[in-house]
């Protein structure tokens, strides 16, 4: 019964997604102007999507923006803590209580205010932006999904699972048995739940980012702040639970003394390595997901760019684009998995590297 409803819901949702996705992201550019007169600025459109936003723009219909206003939370040195809806900007010609969204310069697209000398300054901005809301929704859905699965195991622990739970079990175990256990090594029990959470958090948000309509579609895991936090969390886990042997390897590695004594060359190299590992994680996830979104949007834009170039070209380009978008979507689903997998496996490798044990064989040789 549940499965049937779920299937029905999914198919309706997919249909809606298909029919609205293509227009939803693109049409806003035509806002307030004659579409034939103003050709689509694809670059601006794509960049706007890739960046965070203070409101959740869903569609523009007959020059009217349909969007979900989001709360803006600020702390300004001039006026203290502030909380108001992003809709206030539109209602007050873009400026509310001295705050406005910068159009140019260093803080383009961010909420700013002006100081006494007229410079734009940035207040402390904890606004619940589009990406933040998407993160919260994604986290909530992930928690619901996982708790739903966990409940099936609490109710009937030994019985084999079917349907969604069974599929998720295979998925969870593939990560658990093929990544976490072999890569982390003997200490895997301490880290397994963190690594599972990491994988499913990234994977779920990647997939949610591919869903074109409301709860999804935000460029969450393609946002550097998100990947920064993930990488930072990996960095902390790896370096706060390292063994003595691991720290010895960093601060007093087994190399000739001249490499580390007067000038601590090796130590600097090791410390740089410490930073570059999570940095690479951060950039890899960010770049891959962002690029995916950019490609899809670029291909969608192609339809609208060629719209003014005659029926033959326009229709053939539309067909071409749609085929390519579908192809890219499949690739992106693969990428969503691969990037979550890679992030998890690298975190596991770093953890394994930080759990080095003192070499036992040498000691046993000495003692004999």
């Amino acid at each position: 019964m549940f499965n049937k409803t779920l299937k029905y819901f999914l198919s309706v949702w997919m249909f809606l997604a298909m029919s609205t996705s293509l227009s939803a992201e693109v049409v806003p550019q035509a806002e307030g102007s004659n579409p034939e007169a103003a050709p689509l600025d694809a670059k601006e459109l794509i960049l706007e999507h890739l960046k965070d936003d203070y409101e959740w723009h869903i569609a523009t219909y007959k020059n009217k923006k349909i969007s979900i206003p989001l709360p803006i939370i600020l702390y300004s040195k001039n006026s203290g803590a502030q909380l108001f809806s992003s809709a206030k900007f539109d209602q007050n010609n873009g400026c509310y209580k001295g705050f406005y969204i910068s159009k140019t310069g260093k803080y383009k697209g961010k909420v700013v205010e002006t100081d006494a000398s007229g410079n734009e300054i940035r207040p402390i901005d904890l606004s619940l932006t589009k990406n933040a809301l998407s993160l919260l929704i994604g986290s909530f859905l992930l928690i619901i999904l996982m708790l739903f699965i966990a409940r099936a195991y609490k109710n009937e622990p030994v019985k084999p699972k079917k349907g969604l739970v069974g599929a998720m079990e295979v998925f969870i175990l593939s990560v658990y048995d093929d990544v976490i256990k072999p890569v982390v090594g003997e200490d895997y029990k301490k880290y397994r739940y963190y690594l599972l959470t990491l994988f499913f958090f990234i994977f779920f948000n990647n997939i949610l980012g591919l869903v074109p309509i409301f709860p999804g579609g935000a460029n969450v895991t393609g946002n550097i702040a998100v990947t920064l936090t993930l990488a930072l969390s990996t960095f902390l886990i790896v370096n706060l639970t390292g063994t003595r042997e691991y720290y010895k390897g960093i601060f007093w590695p087994d190399v000739p003394v001249w490499l580390k004594f007067p000038f601590p060359l090796m130590i600097i190299i090791e410390l740089v390595g410490l930073i570059t590992k999570p940095f690479a994680l951060m950039i890899r996830l960010f770049a891959n997901i962002m690029a995916g979104h950019a490609i899809v949007l670029g291909l969608v834009s192609l339809i609208f760019i060629t719209a003014h170039m005659g029926a033959a070209l326009s229709s053939s380009m539309t067909g071409f684009s749609v085929v390519l978008i579908i192809f890219i979507y499949f690739i992106e689903m693969l990428v969503a998995y691969i990037q979550a997998y890679v992030f998890t496996i690298f975190t596991a490798i770093f953890i394994n590297g930080a759990r080095v044990k003192p070499p036992k064989t040498e000691k046993s040789l000495e003692s004999t």
Binding site: L47, L50, K51, D52, I73, K108, G109, K110, I124, D125, L126, S127, L128, T129, N131, A132, L135, L136, G138, S139, L142, I143, M146, L147, I149, A150, Y153, K154, P157, V158, P160, E169, I172, L173, Y176, R192, Y193, Y194, L196, T197, F200, F201, N223, I224, A225, V226, L228, T229, L230, S233, M290
Partner: protein, 166 residues
């Protein structure tokens, strides 16, 4: 370039969201799932082990059964052989005994016959004696009047008797 500068607000929200997800999933979601799967694996392994054990036991039982059957057959053959032997012994014994018994009986019969014969002879003799006496009496009663005749008879009798006795 703003794409590459992390926004502090989003880092803040991300930390909260990710923190909560880690907290809830590592406490309430993944442990029961992993535990359930491991329990099931353990259960399956134990069941397989039990099945293997049972199969082995069954094999042993079969072997045992065959051994018992074989032993029973042997026992049966032995018992049969013994039975045949004891039957023959019994028959032989019985025949021996019967023979002895028969001999004894025959002996007894013979003795009895002997005895009966003796008795009969004795009876006959007694009868003869009695008859003799009767005859003698009758003779005596008739001839005792004459002396001479008496003596003659007596002598004759004595002679006869002597002759008989000798």
């Amino acid at each position: 370039m703003s794409l590459l500068t992390p926004d502090l607000g989003l880092v803040f929200w991300m930390s909260i969201a990710f923190g909560i997800v880690i907290l809830i999933l590592t406490k309430f979601a993944f442990p029961p799932i992993i535990k359930g799967v491991e329990d099931r694996n353990k259960y399956i392994n134990e069941s397989l082990e039990a099945a293997r054990q049972a199969r082995e036991d069954l094999k042993n039982v079969k072997a045992d059964g065959e051994k018992i059957l074989e032993q029973a057959k042997k026992e049966q053959a032995k018992i049969l052989a013994e039975a045949v032997e004891s039957r023959e012994t019994i028959i032989r014994d019985a025949m021996d005994k019967a023979r002895k018994e028969a001999n004894v009986m025959i002996d007894l019969a013979r003795k009895q016959i002997e005895a009966e014969k003796d008795d009969a002879i004795r009876d006959i003799r007694k009868e003869v004696v009695n008859l003799s006496f009767d005859i003698a009496e009758k003779l005596l009663r008739k001839n005792l009047d004459q002396q001479a005749e008496q003596e003659a008879v007596i002598n004759q009798l004595i002679d006869e008797m002597n002759i008989h006795k000798s």
